[in-house]
């Protein structure tokens, strides 16, 4: 019946943030696009601050559809990875310190990705959240939405299928 003593909040936060940073900082294309991840509990919001090199239509101007797609795909992959890591870190199956030391599990691989462009991406910061609709042993299905100034008016959404990394090789 004995309960585990509660860990101090900063210890828990530090461990979770360190694991997330290790996951995100290892991917060069995330740095290239300047994407950051904001964590609230287990929920992640991806943020892509606007910069000149994201522009695809200089006349409007608008964010390149390819940058939007990459943002959505990255949000899906990190979101999916994080949902699995979260369980394993919380259950103690994976030690966050080993993640930080560079022993990252493989990332899921995209099988297919379909992007709906709902409106043009403005020269503003963009935000995205992924929802894992199914996460099986081999396959996962993820939906993701991106918005800018107004959460209720997404400028793009996507659905993708992913091949899960096999832990036992």
């Amino acid at each position: 019946m004995g309960r585990k003593p509660m860990e101090p909040v900063q210890v828990v936060k530090q461990r979770r943030d360190a694991a997330l940073n290790a996951l995100v900082n290892g991917v060069p294309y995330i740095q290239f696009l300047g994407i950051q991840f904001d964590r609230r509990g287990d929920e992640l919001t991806a943020v892509m601050p606007f910069k000149e090199m994201l522009i695809g239509n200089p006349m409007l101007p608008a964010i390149h559809g390819g940058a939007t797609a990459a943002f959505l795909e990255m949000t899906s992959i990190i979101g999916l990875s994080w949902s699995i890591l979260w369980e394993k870190i919380e259950s103690g199956e994976i030690d966050a310190d080993t993640l930080v030391a560079g022993n990252m599990p493989s990332l899921p691989k995209t099988i297919d990705f379909t992007v709906d462009y709902l409106r043009s991406g403005l020269p503003r910061d963009a935000y995205a959240r992924a929802r894992v609709n199914r996460s099986g042993r081999r396959y996962a299905s993820v939906h993701v939405e991106a918005w800018q100034d107004n959460r209720g008016r997404p400028f793009a959404q996507a659905t993708g299928h992913f091949l899960m990394p096999q832990s036992d090789g």
Binding site: P28, Y29, M53, H64, A70, M74
Partner: protein, 140 residues
């Protein structure tokens, strides 16, 4: 097709910051057809364990190539924008190799253009990815 058209298209790319940043180049532009390439760059890596570039970079190249195929269609008037684009990733691109894409606008109505495309690395036999998409025609 014509050297002039490809050159013009290349100047168009130079004006698009994101495409320029990704190092995209036109290799061919014809009627309803476009071919491009993007040299390997370590900044585009999506999987640090293998050095394979991120699907998003391939997506950006395919999207641009598809848009160019629509713009070069003889019946095309005005601007175009992607409505939707689906990409199937058949295999990881070989690290270090240039990605080549080719897109065909195989059908154009008054309001919608239908496009198919594929992405290759040095292996011509097995494409890295294929894409199908729809694009707006004219209007806003």
């Amino acid at each position: 097709m014509s050297v002039d058209q490809t050159k013009m298209a290349q100047q168009f790319i130079a004006a698009i910051p994101h495409s320029k940043e990704l190092g995209m180049q036109y290799t061919e532009v014809g009627e309803g057809f476009a071919a491009m390439q993007m040299p390997y760059d370590t900044r585009f890596i999506g999987d640090p364990q293998t050095g394979v570039i991120h699907g998003g970079a391939v997506f950006a190249l395919l999207d641009t190539t598809c848009g160019a195929a629509v713009m070069s269609h003889p019946k095309m008037k005005g601007h175009t924008a992607t409505i939707d684009l689906r990409i199937d990733y058949m295999r990881p691109a070989t690290p270090g190799q240039t990605i080549r894409t080719r897109a065909t606008c195989y059908r154009m109505t008054r309001s919608v253009a239908f496009v198919r495309a594929e992405a290759l690395d040095d292996n011509d036999e097995n494409p890295v990815a294929s894409a199908t998409g729809t694009f707006t025609v004219g209007g806003n």
